[in-house]
């Protein structure tokens, strides 16, 4: 019973829980329900991945309407892999959320906060699960609208302007996507991804299809904050409540990367995108993004903002991987998708633990905290090493595959850019390490204590995951390779 409706349950559970959580009385009830739901989602997502690996692609017809007329949830290795990332990050950020949210959000708004969080989770999972392009747009808007609301709950008033800016740019991106979907619907009369894959080749020469492709790529690029469309991201991640920053940084942009891969390779096809300048655009923007965003990160005076710029740089790596247009490049993108979620999650959690103690994320206020909060700092340091790509950490694996993909294409300049990006990461991470560890604590802050266990434990789980996935690449690399193989043979 559960098994046959598994794919739908993953989306429906948070959907049903969201209004319930909203009307619960303030207190720890809303948090507890959200926690249970997110762990159930993680269990289901793990189960789903296991089923996909062992029994092949799952096709679920919503309401019993046969695809391509009805909405189909089509789960293959790629969906299942990304769904697991989203569910895992949600499940791990909730134990962390309890204290962090109590500190940052006024008590009467806490139920609404968790309700919006569940809606965001549902939207992201829905995007990943669905096999229907219009349904994807709807889920994209559900997750976006709830993330605007979540960001606006930040303590400073600048959270409001950051949310507004994101709302404007996000809506433009989503509307571009909607235009693109409308145009391909006009050409083919279908919205099902597999059906589109079968029908589009007949009309690939039409200019409408090329226009649709351009609209979709630009719209999704806005959502994934591809340089130079990243302007909404630094403010949004800086001023959002800590839990929201870490959840969005680890999942939202990753899901947008998934949408890009899905659109380019499943809906349109590899041969079609090879005929467009997509690869060149991704390579150029990726290269510029890695260098410029990492360079910007060095000069930030706010730890969260620094991490946000670093995120823009890391997303640019994923764009590079897509831009190589090879199986190896795409594998690198998917591996980095997973690994970046781990490292950025851990970094935002560690910084969040410091914010919990000193109430500020400005670099000057964090002086010397590394000595006062040794456990938080060590987790931060491990995740930082992973971000740089030191061998033995998860970050090394993804950088390794990216460089391999560059060398395979004899694209030496990109190999150099990838390494230069790592060096810039060394510089900006060192800047934080120096302030945290090598400067003496502020006079007014002599008695800062270590973060509470509820914040430390999730941070350490992610930090240790960074080490674990640096050695054991069975889940990451093997899943990514399976997903890439399957993308290469869709519908053929």
């Amino acid at each position: 019973m559960i098994e046959s409706h598994l794919s739908l349950l993953l989306v429906v559970m948070p959907l049903l829980a969201a209004p319930v959580v909203a009307i619960l009385p303030a207190g720890r009830g809303p948090w507890l329900v959200t926690l249970v739901i997110s762990w159930l989602c993680l269990a289901l997502a793990g189960w789903q991945l296991w089923m996909v690996v062992n029994t092949g692609t799952i096709s679920y017809a919503l309401g019993g309407w046969e695809p391509p007329w009805g909405i189909e949830y089509r789960i293959d290795a790629l969906n299942a892999f990304v769904a697991l990332i989203v569910a895992a990050i949600a499940a791990i950020s909730l134990p962390y959320a309890l204290h962090s949210v109590e500190r940052e959000i006024p008590a009467q708004r806490v139920p609404l906060f968790y309700s919006a969080f569940l809606l965001c989770l549902l939207g992201l999972l829905g995007i990943v699960q669905t096999g229907d392009v219009f349904n994807l747009f709807v889920f994209l808007e559900i997750s976006s609208l709830s993330s605007y609301a979540l960001i606006s709950m930040g303590r400073e008033r600048r959270a409001l302007t950051a949310a507004f800016q994101y709302l404007i740019m996000g809506t433009i991106g989503a509307t571009f996507l909607l235009i693109g979907i409308g145009l391909i619907y006009a050409e083919t009369g279908t919205l099902n991804m597999l059906d589109l894959n079968a029908r589009l080749p007949a009309v690939l020469e039409h200019r409408t299809v090329h226009t649709a492709f351009a609209f979709i790529v630009v719209g999704v690029a806005l959502k994934l904050a591809l340089f130079p469309l990243h302007l909404w991201l630094p403010n949004a991640y800086t001023y959002a409540p800590t839990v929201v920053s870490l959840f969005l940084a680890a999942t939202a942009t990753k899901v947008a990367v998934y949408v890009m891969v899905r659109m380019v390779y499943t809906v349109f096809s590899n041969s079609f995108s090879q005929a467009t300048p997509l690869d060149e655009v991704f390579l150029l923007l990726g290269m510029a993004g890695v260098l410029v965003a990492s360079f910007y990160a060095i000069y930030q005076q706010d730890a969260k903002r620094l991490l946000a710029y670093s995120s823009v740089g890391q997303i640019a790596y994923m764009a590079l991987g897509i831009g190589f247009g090879s199986a190896l490049g795409l594998t690198a993108t998917l591996v980095h998708l997973f690994n970046h979620a781990l490292m950025k999650g851990a970094l935002f959690m560690a910084v969040g633990a410091m914010i919990y103690r000193v109430g500020s994320s400005r670099v000057n206020d964090l002086q010397g905290l590394g000595r006062q909060m040794p456990w938080t700092f060590t987790a931060f340091f491990i995740a930082g090493l992973s971000l740089i790509g030191l061998p033995g950490t998860a970050g090394f694996i993804s950088k390794w595959y990216l460089v391999l993909a560059a060398i395979e294409q004899q694209a030496w300049i990109f190999a150099i850019v990838i390494l230069a990006g790592s060096l810039l990461a060394v510089v900006y991470m060192w800047k934080l390490v120096e302030i945290l560890f090598f400067k003496g604590p502020d006079e007014h802050r002599q008695d800062v204590k270590e973060a509470p266990l509820a914040l430390l434990a999730p941070t350490w789980v992610l930090a240790l995951a960074n080490l674990y996935f640096g050695f054991d690449t069975r889940l990451t690399v093997d899943m990514a390779q399976t997903a890439v193989q399957m993308l290469g043979t869709t519908g053929r």
């Binding site: 709807v138 808007e141 609208l145 605007y148 809506t171 433009i172 409308g182 619907y185």
Partner: protein
């Protein structure tokens, strides 16, 4: 040529609205005007979908005797969903503007930037 221009008049309106809306979003500093521009931009896409759904000489898609040619109802249904999304976006945007007005005392982008950078 004239026939081509007139025959596609709905698409010209779509393009006009789309550009007007998009330009308003980009050029206006007033947050309410930005939301209005965003709305016009979205509405143009609704029109695009509805235009796509029209079948030449087709009637309303209700099965009845004597009619064999129907317009495609699916785009209408899709756009009904998109309208809901648009309404939600507008509501959220306006709610944010209200909060911004309370926090900053202004809804002009330049003013807000000035207040933020003077901190």
């Amino acid at each position: 040529m004239i026939e081509y221009l007139l025959g596609h008049y709905n698409y010209w309106i779509v393009i006009l609205l789309m550009m007007a809306g998009f330009y308003t979003v980009v050029s206006q500093g007033n947050l309410i005007k930005k939301i209005a521009g965003l709305n016009i931009f979205q509405v143009s896409v609704f029109l695009l979908y509805i235009s796509i759904g029209n079948v030449h000489g087709g009637t309303t898609p209700i099965i009845a005797e004597g009619f064999t040619r129907y317009s495609n109802p699916l785009p209408h249904v899709l756009i009904l969903t998109a309208i809901v999304v648009g309404v939600a976006t507008t509501a959220l945007g306006l709610a944010l503007v209200v909060r911004i007005k309370k926090a900053y005392g202004s809804i002009e982008e330049d003013d807000i930037h000035k207040q933020d950078s003077s901190l």
